[in-house]
């Protein structure tokens, strides 16, 4: 590997061409990744804006800031935007898009034009969602439960449903592209057992996207048909079963939570070895546990329905199955931790995020065990306990992983380094703000405060105030990285091709990479995470 001197003249994917057209019609996976980066960031701030309004409203027990209907629309749009337009595409469509071909030594994804198409579908869906918001919004909750969504609300269910449908298509196409790419485009010598764990995680994610998303799609089509054409498949007045909708919805939406977390797990599995200068502990177990999560994830969906009116026996089956999926998660947590044992650990920003991920994911996951436990779930379902559980995993886990990954690969993406001390500072703020926001919600939930409440009994106020205070700190923590990333694009120190001394093919090409990733197709002769053969970087990380 030639450490070509980085000069600004070198041609790479960013400066190869200029102009709007060269971006909007690109088929380069790296440019598409950046398109996604911009669009999901936009939606993240929209969703976050709604979250702040929610928190402000809940500052006082009375519903005083907004109307009840507005509040209902706020949490609905918050959930829909955050899930379908931010978290599901976040890591796969940005980091996955950017890195999957590079990590396996390919020039691009298997279907570059489909990749672009999937971004356009995402944008169409996003515009529909935005249009839906400005023209009135929806108030069904992100879960679209029937018969409220089909027969009672008079908000824009049709448009929101179609928007999610289109976004689902985009997600399916991304997954399809990844699976084909991973199967067909690996460089010579890149065997399955040499794949980075990030790739395994994306492979598992893609399986879920391929087999789960279509069920959501058809379910939403049926809901739309019920509203528009008067079909009656979920209509209790005609003997339809409202629970059938829930079964079909969760058949997708439970596995979908693993679409959100698996890529983050993949990111952590790259960061931890790198900053411990060690091969990951038990490569095989970590790789296979991703697949296990993807498969078992499909067996547990009705744990969202323990009090919905499903049969007693069915509830027991789904409860026990829910615990199965926790085992591979446990393996991951323990293996990451064990990787640090006898390593050579440095506290860089990505590593701090990885610590945050492991800690908060563990807490979120453990509270998931509470929820999967029938006796407890009856009391805490549909309360803030659930809200806290999933924010711990999705915000504390998945978003931390995403930010960690963004920091880790930012030098590769932009060719620049961000200011390290600011990075650490922001990570700390996010961690503190996060816990202050969501820890009180566990207590609120057990005390019995139901979720989706616009106003609440006064005795819950103290904890709500804490939560609201935390969310403003959290907001600062999220705005900071955006600011210094932008700043670094211009003023950051120039990064060489491997600033962290990391293993992996993506670090063997220039930063930013050339259009076809590699000057010539690499041939892989080493195992993944061969940190014994890579010198630790001298300068960047030695900071006390």
């Amino acid at each position: 590997m030639a450490t070509a001197a980085i000069t600004t003249e070198r041609e790479h994917y960013l400066n190869k061409e200029y102009g709007i057209r060269s971006w909007l019609l690109t088929t380069d996976h790296k440019r598409i990744a950046l398109l996604y980066l911009i669009s999901i960031t936009f939606f993240f701030f929209i969703g976050g804006f709604f979250a702040l309004l929610i928190r402000l409203e809940l500052l006082t027990p009375a519903g005083d800031l907004v109307q009840a209907d507005t509040y209902n629309k706020l949490f609905t749009m918050h959930g829909m935007v955050m899930i379908f337009f931010f978290l599901i595409p976040s890591i796969p469509a940005v980091l996955g898009n950017f890195l999957v071909p590079m990590m396996i030594g390919a020039k691009d994804l298997a279907f570059p034009r489909i990749n672009l198409l999937s971004w356009y579908l995402y944008i169409i869906a996003g515009i529909m969602m935005l249009h839906c918001m400005v023209t009135g919004g929806v108030d069904t909750g992100w879960t679209f439960y029937t018969p409220f969504s089909t027969a009672f609300t008079n908000t824009k269910v049709i448009e929101a449903g179609l928007s999610v449908f289109v976004a689902g298509f985009s997600s399916i196409l991304t997954g399809l592209n990844f699976v084909v790419t991973i199967h067909r485009m690996r460089a010579p010598g890149m065997t399955w057992s040499r794949l980075p764990l990030f790739i395994w995680a994306h492979y598992a994610t893609s399986i879920i996207q391929l087999l789960g998303t279509p069920v959501l799609a058809v379910t939403l089509v049926l809901v739309v048909c019920e509203r528009v054409l008067g079909l009656g498949i979920f209509d209790p007045n005609r003997g339809g079963d409202p629970l059938l909708f829930q079964h079909l919805f969760w058949f997708y939406s439970h596995p979908a939570v693993y679409i959100m977390i698996l890529p983050s797990m993949g990111v952590v599995a790259e960061i931890v070895p790198c900053f411990s200068r060690k091969r990951i502990f038990g490569y095989q177990a970590v790789a296979l546990s991703s697949i296990a999560i993807a498969v078992f994830g499909f067996l547990v969906w009705a744990h969202h329905m323990f009090v919905a009116g499903i049969s007693l026996y069915s509830a027991m089956i789904f409860s026990i199955l829910s615990y199965l999926v926790a085992v591979p998660s446990a393996i991951k947590v323990f293996n990451w931790t064990a990787t640090m044992y006898k390593g050579s650990v440095t506290f860089s920003t990505p590593m701090l995020y990885a610590f945050g991920f492991i800690g908060l994911f563990t807490m979120g996951g453990l509270t998931g065990l509470f929820l999967a436990c029938l006796g407890i779930d009856v009391h805490v379902t549909d309360t803030y306990f659930v809200v806290a559980h999933f924010h711990y995993i999705m915000v504390g886990g998945a978003v931390m992983g995403y930010l960690g990954g963004m920091h880790f690969w930012w030098p590769k993406i932009s060719g620049r380094l961000y200011p390290e001390w600011l990075g650490k500072f922001a990570a700390l703020i996010v961690f503190l703000g996060f816990n202050l926001t969501f820890f009180p919600q566990f207590i609120l939930g057990y005390l019995g405060m139901p979720r989706r409440y616009w106003q609440y009994p006064a005795e819950f106020q103290v904890l709500n105030v804490m939560s609201t205070a935390g969310s403003t700190i959290l907001a600062v923590g999220y705005v900071l990285p955006m600011v210094y990333f932008l700043w670094s694009m211009r003023y950051g120190k120039i990064a060489d091709e491997n600033p962290w001394g990391a293993a992996g093919l993506e670090w063997k090409t220039a930063s930013p990479p050339p259009t076809f990733n590699f000057e010539e197709t690499p041939e892989v002769t080493w195992e993944a995470y061969n940190y014994d053969q890579i010198p630790a970087p001298a300068e960047v990380l030695i900071e006390r």
Binding site: K16, E17, S22, L25, T26, T27, D28, R31, A106, K107, D108, L109, A110, F111, P112, I114, I172, L176, N177, V179, V180, T181, H183, R184, M185, L210, L211, G212, T213, P214, V215, A217, V218, T219, V221, L222, C225, L229, G230, L231, G232, I233, N237, R238, G239, G240, D241, L244, H247, L248, F251, T515, F516, T521
Partner: protein, 233 residues
């Protein structure tokens, strides 16, 4: 990126990021198979609804099924099977480089596809005339009630059968329409002589899609038309 997908070193069909034509074809075929897997789950959601309501409301499903036109249903199945044959032969013609034969077979496929849609239209129209479309004007009184065992029919449950009938056949028909579109596209390029024994992947994967839509109908036919066709009395 403005570079045209056609790189100079390879044949014109090989896109730049693939190493070989085989790799490209294998990728396309795997891609189509994965897409079909998603389609199975797409229809699967409706099959799940079908299974449960058929269990719950068997009488209504039986009566509804009886009211469908068995003659048209069978003919339509046959039409689709014929179209699958022409597709299969078409792929073969493309592999052997017989352009004219390919064009004829593609035209035939499209004709069969349109015939299927036409017949479907006739059937739907019949349903409309008999007030079997779910909604306010729905009327189940004219349905033949199976007199053996228990014969009660609840009109609201009957609507669930017809809701599923329209959802399933409707989404199947949508797939047919898309299929006809794809084949029109293939026909255009076949006409221009783009497909050769070396390069015919589009025909092949287009064919996979068509066969899949056929298979869906192969199941829809017994599930919707043949629930209960035993002689009455």
């Amino acid at each position: 990126m403005s570079d045209s997908p056609i790189a100079v070193e390879h044949g014109p069909e090989l896109r730049h990021h693939f190493a070989s034509v085989e790799q490209q074809r294998d990728a396309a075929s795997l891609g189509m198979w994965l897409f079909l897997a998603t389609e199975i789950m797409f229809f699967g959601g409706m099959f799940c609804a079908y299974l449960i309501y058929r269990m719950w409301y068997f009488n209504e499903f039986a009566a509804g099924s009886r009211s469908l036109n068995l003659k048209w249903g069978t003919i339509n199945t046959i039409v689709l099977i014929c179209s699958s044959l022409t597709v299969a032969l078409g792929v073969r013609a493309a592999q052997m480089g017989k352009r004219k034969l390919l064009v004829i077979l593609l035209i035939l496929t499209i004709v069969f596809g349109l015939a299927f849609l036409g017949i479907k239209g006739i059937e739907w129209h019949e349903k409309y005339e008999h007030h079997h479309i779910p909604g306010a004007s729905f009327d189940a009184t004219a349905l033949e009630k199976p007199p053996y065992s228990n014969g009660g029919i609840d009109p609201s449950h009957e609507q669930i059968y017809f809701s599923l009938y329209f959802a399933m056949t409707g989404l199947h028909a949508l797939h047919m329409i898309i299929g006809v579109g794809i084949f029109a596209f293939l026909l255009f390029h076949a006409w221009k002589g783009r497909y050769t024994p070396q390069y015919n992947t589009p025909i092949e994967i287009g064919g996979l899609y068509w066969h899949f839509v056929d298979i869906v109908w192969i199941y829809l036919f017994p599930l919707l038309y043949l629930i209960d066709r035993k002689p009455l009395g």
